[in-house]
Every structure is written in C-alpha cells, then in structure tokens.
Amino acid sequence: MIRLLHPLLALLFAPLLQGIIMKTQAFFAGRQGPPVIQPYHDLARLFRKGAVFSETTTWVFRAGPAIGLTIGILCLIFLPLGNMPAMVSFHGDLIFLIYLLSLHRFFTVIAAMDTGSAFEGMGASREMSFSALAEPAFFFGLATIARLTGTLSLDQLIHGININLWQTHVGSLALVVVGLFLVFLAENSRIPVDDPSTHLELTMIHEVMVLDHSGVDFGFIEYAAALKLWILGSVIVGIAIPVRTGIPGIDISAMCLGLICLAVIIGIVGSIMARLRLLQVPQLLVGACIFSVIGFLIQ
C-alpha cells in the first residue's frame, strides 16, 4: 500500500507546487497573486473545453500530449520519495527513468514540428539543443550518487543517501545538488532559462512548442509539466534532504516540506533574476555539467 502513496501524492499535489511558485513570485512582486490552488482551476477549465486542431496536423500532434502525460505517470511508478519506496524497482531503472523523460521531450518536440509552423520548429530546435547539454549533467549527477551508493536502482540509490554519506562526501553531494538544480530549472522551463508565463516572445523555448495545443490537450500538457516538476524535484529533494528515520510520518513530511521549499526557491529565483540571453543558456548548462562532473571526479 505504501508503494502506491508516492504516485498518489504526486498526482494529487503536483499542480500545487506550481501554485506555490506563482504565490511566491506574487509575494516578491508585492501582489496578492492567485490562490495556490489556481493551477487546479486552470486544469479544470481546460478539461471542460473542446480542442481545436489545425488541418495541417496529423495524429502525431493529437497523440503528443496524451503520450506526454502517460510517460509522466509512468515515471512516477519508478520514483521513490526519500524513504518511501517506488512502486516498481529494478537494477538500472535510473537509466530507464532518464530515457522516459527523453521520450516525453521527443513527443513534445515531434508534436510541435507536426504543426508545420516555423515558430514551433524554432522552439523544438532550441529544446533539443539545450537538452543535449542538460542530459549529460543529469546523467553525471545521478552517476555520482550511483557510484557513492553502489547501486543503479533509483529506489536503493535515494534510500542509500543518509547523514553519514553527506558528512563523508559533502563536496560531491553539494556539487551534484547544484548541478541537478540548474538542470531542474532548464527542464522545467523556469527562469533564468525560460519563462513559462510568456507566450509571445522570441526568446522562449518550451512555451513556443505548445502554442497550437488547446483545450483538453493543453490541459494534459500543463498537468504533465506539473508532474515533471514533481518528478525532478523529488529526485533533488531525495538527494538534498537525508532524512531517513524509518518512521513513515517523519520521512514523508520531510520530503513534502523539501518539495515545498524547492518550489519557494524556484519562485525566489524567478523573482530576483532576469532571464538569461539565449546565447548564455548553453553556458549555464555547461556549468551544470561541470558541477556534476567535478562532483563525480572528486569523490
């Protein structure tokens, strides 16, 4: 039963993280802002609407959002949250999870290109270019933890991180957390890499690819984005917060609190920083790679 808990928590509360981010940004801007449950209202509104499809699109465009959401849910099956075990775990599921996330990106990109719009093609091109830099950073970050804990199973890997490991390998783990955090910002289209609140600017990356989606399909995309935020966030929180007491209440509370803190940090970063120029984004991602690689090398 406890193995079902994490996917259920994620499915229920993933949009709440987006709400916390918006609320934090509103607080820093001196506004009251929308309520934290606003993303739920937005999703409900989108799910009530009908979708409009361009005549130039094919089944690829229609399938993209549904496949993206399915992959997001599939990822939750392999994902532990601190001491809370994953539903399914096997040797090498770490690599499988990374490939699932890549598959999610692939279908988003191919659905964008299916519209035939040059604007969406541009976004797709940017997404793939930046992911080519973000993925090695993510790989090296998880490889560092795998080397420290001696396992390639995500469940045992996150479970194996404790205070003793942090005390003996503080340098490596801190570098990996910083590297993964930068990847997290890029993968979730957050400032300073991208701004999810913009829709008509030439510098945007992710939002440009989903401009033609509407109604239920756009709802799927938004919900999948919320799940992706939770998925990558739970990996970072699982590494950064070594609370492994064995008491489910304390462990789950610590992880949930960690996710809320992560959302607040994203909100703060989005409030105090400007978006980077597009040409500087690769430098940031190379920086993330370097953090992860140094973390891997110095242990």
């Binding site: 503080v170 340098g171 570098l175 430098q283 920086g287 370097i290 140094i294 090398l297 110095i298």
Partner: protein
C-alpha cells in the same frame, strides 16, 4: 573543511577559465586569495604561532586585497574590460579545463605525499591551479589576464606549500610573499607603460619591435 576549501579553489579555477571579463577574472582571483589565506590559517591551526599567523594573514591580505586592487587600478588606467578575442573561447577553455582536472586527479593518485594526513584533493587541486594559471597565460591576449594567470599559478604553489608543511622559516615564507608583491608591482607598471607606448595591452600585437 580541507576538502571544502580545495573544492572551492577548483570551482574558482573553472570560473576563471569560463570568463572573458577582466574585472571578473580579478575579482574571482581575489576570492581565491582569501580562501587560500583561510586555508593557510586552518591547515596550521594545530601549530599556530605568531609568525605562522602573520604569514597566513599576510597572504590573505596580499592575495585577497592588495594584488587585486593593483590590477583593478591598472584596468581602469588602460580602459580595458573584456578579453575580446582570446585564442580559446569560454566553452573550449572549459572543456580543456575538464580534461586537465581529470589528468590532475589521476596524477594526484600517482603522487601521494608521504607522511602527511592531508586531503587527497590537495595535489590535484594544486596541479589544476597551476594548469589553469598556465592556460590563462597561453590562451589570453591581454597582458592583465596573463598577470592574473601568473597569480593563479602561484596560488597553486602556495596551496601545496601550506598544505604539506606545518612550518617553514618565517623569512622564507615572507620572502616568497615579498617576491610576489614585487612581481605584481612590476607587472602593473609594465602594463601601464605598455598602454602608454602602444595604446593597447594586447600581447598578440607585440610580435614586432616598434621603431
């Protein structure tokens, strides 16, 4: 704590390789100098005496404040703020730096320091600093960037010195710091004179003597 300070030095070296702005180069070298001053005091805390304390504090002040202040002052005089066309760009420098770090870590395993209980990152950190300094001297065209490269290289030598020797004669250590002080002073004077004579400090254009 040792590992933490050495990792910071390594990260600053990476930052130096990635930046083309001369003010940024000098500022990060200053931060590295402060870290090395703390490193010097921390590594000898068990044998802390007045002269050891003076050397540590002197290194911190010179490397963290005085040298950067000289170089920043020179930057303002020569009105240069950016390395416009280095021989190797930032991404290329970072990739070469990563290869150098791997080589340094490998050499660190081949060159253990006998009889000491220092961090296993000390030798790699030192070698990487020396490499970074040399690379900055080779790959940058502006004379100030090359002076920064010299300082970074010396920082590496300083790190292994204070990391392995619990005590060195006061006159030797103060002599080394005085040498550094004079070297930086001479370099800043030379750069200023170079700018006055040629109206630039690009060493790439100094391949022929001017009549």
């Amino acid at each position: 704590m040792f590992d933490f300070l050495i990792v910071l030095v390594i990260l600053i070296n990476v930052r130096l390789l990635a930046t083309g702005r001369i003010e940024s180069l000098i500022s990060w070298t200053a931060v590295q100098g402060v870290i090395l001053g703390v490193f010097a005091l921390y590594s000898r805390q068990a044998h802390l005496s007045v002269d050891v304390f003076i050397i540590g504090l002197g290194a911190l002040l010179l490397k963290g404040l005085v040298f950067p202040a000289f170089l920043l002052h020179t930057t303002k005089i020569v009105v240069t703020s950016r390395e416009t066309e280095p021989y190797v760009g930032p991404i290329g420098s970072l990739l070469i730096g990563m290869v150098a770090l791997v080589v340094s870590l490998w050499l660190g395993t081949r060159l253990p320091i006998p009889g000491t209980d220092t961090s296993h990152l000390l030798v790699p950190g030192t070698l990487f600093s020396i490499f970074t300094g040399q690379f900055l001297i080779i790959s940058r065209k502006m004379a100030i960037s090359q002076a920064v490269g010299f300082l970074v290289m010396e920082n590496g030598a300083f790190m292994i010195g204070v990391g392995t020797l619990y005590y060195a004669p006061f006159f030797v250590e103060s002599g080394v710091l005085l040498d550094m002080f004079l070297a930086v002073l001479i370099m800043t004077v030379l750069i200023t004179d170079m700018n006055r004579a040629f109206h630039h400090i690009d060493t790439h254009e100094l391949s022929r003597l001017k009549g």
